[in-house]
């Protein structure tokens, strides 16, 4: 597996904002046909990392390789052209614009020439409808505003758009965090489909039940640095959960951990240090 060329690779990438070191020495490889799950608490640098990947920020040090070739993106438009599509959690769609207008935003199909170049609405509407149908969402009228769609459907429009425009790398920023169970499963199924289509997917989430079924590998970020990448076969769901709950800082967070593990074995909580005894009692007393 490691002999393959990664679809996208970061080599010792750092990003500084003035005196703030937002990312330091991050290395990561993502292969096509794989889902890399990015874990980390708030402020760990997940957002900076994906914004660096998608061309919003430029790395201060280090380099990025796309398909083995060094890549540097001046703006999101360059990253898009190179095949890196990012679906941001809440910034993906413009509610007042129609599905078709959103779908083709920035890359409208045109007919005609010179000053008479115009959007090919017939083609655009048909493609938008088609692509949405492919992921199981039946759009009655692609000219209806995106605001009339549910949250999961909106995420799917954004993902379908990225896939349609030939993305090789798909970056998803907490696509399921605001969604209900059923809607999240729609998005997850679509992520699995994108992986099967050979895309390299970088998936950020706080929900292990969303992350574990679709991910092939996990990278843990903490305070701007990487704590390592773990293959799914080498790590259990509980270990991922622990990493998400604080990783190496586990000992100092055992009160919370006791909460998580209470249902499995309440005895574990009883043997914790005395410093957390009061919290444990609280938990046991419920």
């Amino acid at each position: 597996m490691s002999e393959r060329t990664p679809m996208i690779e970061m080599r010792s990438v750092s990003k500084h904002f003035g005196s703030v070191i937002a990312l330091s020495d991050i290395s990561m490889q993502v292969y096509s046909g794989e889902v890399m799950c990015l874990l980390g608490d708030n402020g760990a640098g997940k957002s900076t990392l994906i914004k660096t990947l998608s061309g919003v920020h430029q790395p201060t040090h280090g380099e990025m390789l796309l398909g083995g070739e060094p890549a540097r993106f001046k703006s999101p438009a360059y990253a898009l052209d190179a095949g890196i599509a990012t679906v941001f959690q809440d910034l993906a769609m413009i509610p007042l614009m129609s599905i078709t207008r959103n779908f083709f935003m920035g890359r409208e199909p045109t007919v005609g020439w010179g000053p008479f170049k115009r959007i090919d609405w017939k083609l655009a509407d048909r493609i938008a409808k088609q692509e949405m149908a492919k992921i199981g969402i039946d759009v009655r009228d692609p000219s209806q505003p995106v605001g009339t769609l549910s949250g999961g459907e909106r995420q799917c429009v954004a993902i379908a758009r990225a896939v349609y425009f030939g993305a090789k790398v798909l970056i998803l920023d907490e696509p399921t965090s605001a969604l209900g169970v059923k809607q999240a499963s729609v998005v997850l199924r679509y992520i699995a489909k994108a992986r099967a289509d050979g895309l390299a997917v970088i998936f950020i989430t706080h929900n292990v039940h969303h992350a574990y079924p679709v991910a092939d590998a996990f990278t843990l970020l903490k305070r701007g640095g990487s704590l390592g990448t773990f293959r799914k076969e080498n790590i259990s769901r509980e270990e991922v959960l622990n990493m998400m709950a604080g990783g190496a800082e586990l000992e100092s967070l055992d009160a919370e951990l006791a909460e998580f593990q209470r249902s499995d074995s309440e005895k574990n909580a009883d043997t914790e240090e005395t410093a957390t005894a009061s919290k444990t009692r609280l938990a046991a007393g419920q």
Binding site: I94, E108, R140, G147
Partner: protein, 374 residues
């Protein structure tokens, strides 16, 4: 439904049938300019009754209120595009004053050909728009504040430059320079004069004592207004650039992340509003033959009123150029209607304010409706 459908309709896919269920009214209601259209019909109906027999709806009267609407409509079109793009321009009115000075002084005082003076005004307007756009982009300040600054800067410049170079704030005598200047003639006079003469011959429109028609043609400002509205509508609805305007105003971040050049779009929109103010100034200077530093006072607010009546959202991302044109038409109808009906013109402003509030409330309501699942 089924029983009334023709055999051909049954043959069409079942999916199309569901689209049919979205009634014509609901579709019309979800268009941004619907409110303005309803308002225009109401106002028109009102004055057709109230001002009947006063000459408001004779050819001369119609040209009168259309000319008022046209002048406002020209800047309202640009203001509409800018507002859909998510920004304001409060410097439009001052730009009108400055552009007038920039046309009149070189032509009258320094003997420039008029076309060169007009080009100078357009170049300065482009620069002002470019600075406005860049300041808004680079600083991230609300365009309200940036262009409020330019409202005073440009007005002050107009007065200062004019007094410095000529010692006056009014420059007359532009009329002498118009004949033979093809570029200036784009902004002066009337079109379709032959048609109107012919219609007068046929007895369709009234003639004066000399046998000439009372209305000799369509003022060129009306042509500019309709032309700009048509072009702006086409750009908004049919071109990628139009989609970028909606996207930039709807959510600049989302647009940028999708590869839309938001900064370039906003700069070009600010330049367009400054250009529209210059067109306004050209028409006014050619029409009156003079420039005055206080011209265009409060025009920026009137333009915003027309745009909002036309269904645009102050927050951007939603609106229409046709709506802005209708807003300007309502403006013209009411202003001239009040004059013709003999109501004290003081009431015009009251009506304008009420109209604005009603339009905003109506727009808010319609936006909520549009967001509901159909």
């Amino acid at each position: 439904m089924k029983s009334s459908a023709s055999p051909q309709a049954d043959a069409v896919e079942t999916q199309d049938e569901r689209i049919q269920k979205v009634s014509f009214w609901k579709r019309a209601l979800s268009r941004p300019e619907f409110g303005a259209l309803a308002g225009t019909v109401l106002v028109l109906a009102f004055f057709l009754v109230a001002a009947s027999g006063t000459g408001m709806f004779t050819p001369a009267g119609i040209v009168n209120f259309l000319e008022v609407a046209a002048q406002l409509g020209i800047i309202a079109t640009a203001a509409a595009l800018l507002m859909i793009g998510g920004e304001f321009d409060l410097s439009i009115g001052s730009m009108i004053g400055l552009a007038g000075i920039l046309i009149a002084i070189p032509a009258v005082e320094y003997g420039w050909p008029l076309w060169a003076a007009i080009l100078l005004a357009f170049a300065c307007a482009g620069l002002v728009g470019w600075i406005n756009g860049n300041l808004v982009n680079k600083t991230g300040l609300p365009s309200f504040i940036v262009t409020l600054g330019f409202l005073f800067i440009l007005r002050g410049l107009a007065i200062g430059v004019s007094r410095l170079l000529t010692g006056r704030t009014q420059i007359g005598g532009v009329h002498d320079h118009i004949p033979g200047d093809w570029f200036a003639s784009l902004f002066s006079g009337e079109v379709a004069t032959g048609l109107f003469a012919w219609m007068a011959e046929q007895g369709w429109i009234a003639t004066n004592f000399a046998g000439n028609p009372v209305v000799t043609g369509i003022p060129v400002s009306i042509v500019w207004w309709l032309g700009l509205t048509a072009v702006a509508t086409w750009v908004l609805l049919c071109t990628p650039y139009g989609n970028w305007i909606f996207a930039s105003g709807g959510d600049a971040n989302a647009a940028r992340n999708s590869g839309v050049p938001v900064h370039r779009v906003k700069i070009s929109l600010f330049m367009f509003t400054a250009f529209s103010a210059t067109i306004f100034a050209c028409l006014q200077v050619m029409d009156t033959g003079s420039a005055d530093t206080i011209r265009g006072l409060l025009k920026e607010l009137e333009a915003i009123i027309a745009v909002v009546i036309g269904g645009a959202l102050l927050t951007g991302g939603y609106g229409s150029a046709i709506g802005a044109a209708l807003g300007a038409l309502i403006f013209g109808l009411v202003q001239m209607g009040i004059f013709y009906t003999g109501v004290n013109t003081d009431w015009f402003q009251v009506f304008l304010g009420v109209m604005l509030l009603v339009a905003v409330l109506f727009n808010n309501f319609m936006r909520k409706k549009a967001m509901e699942a159909k």
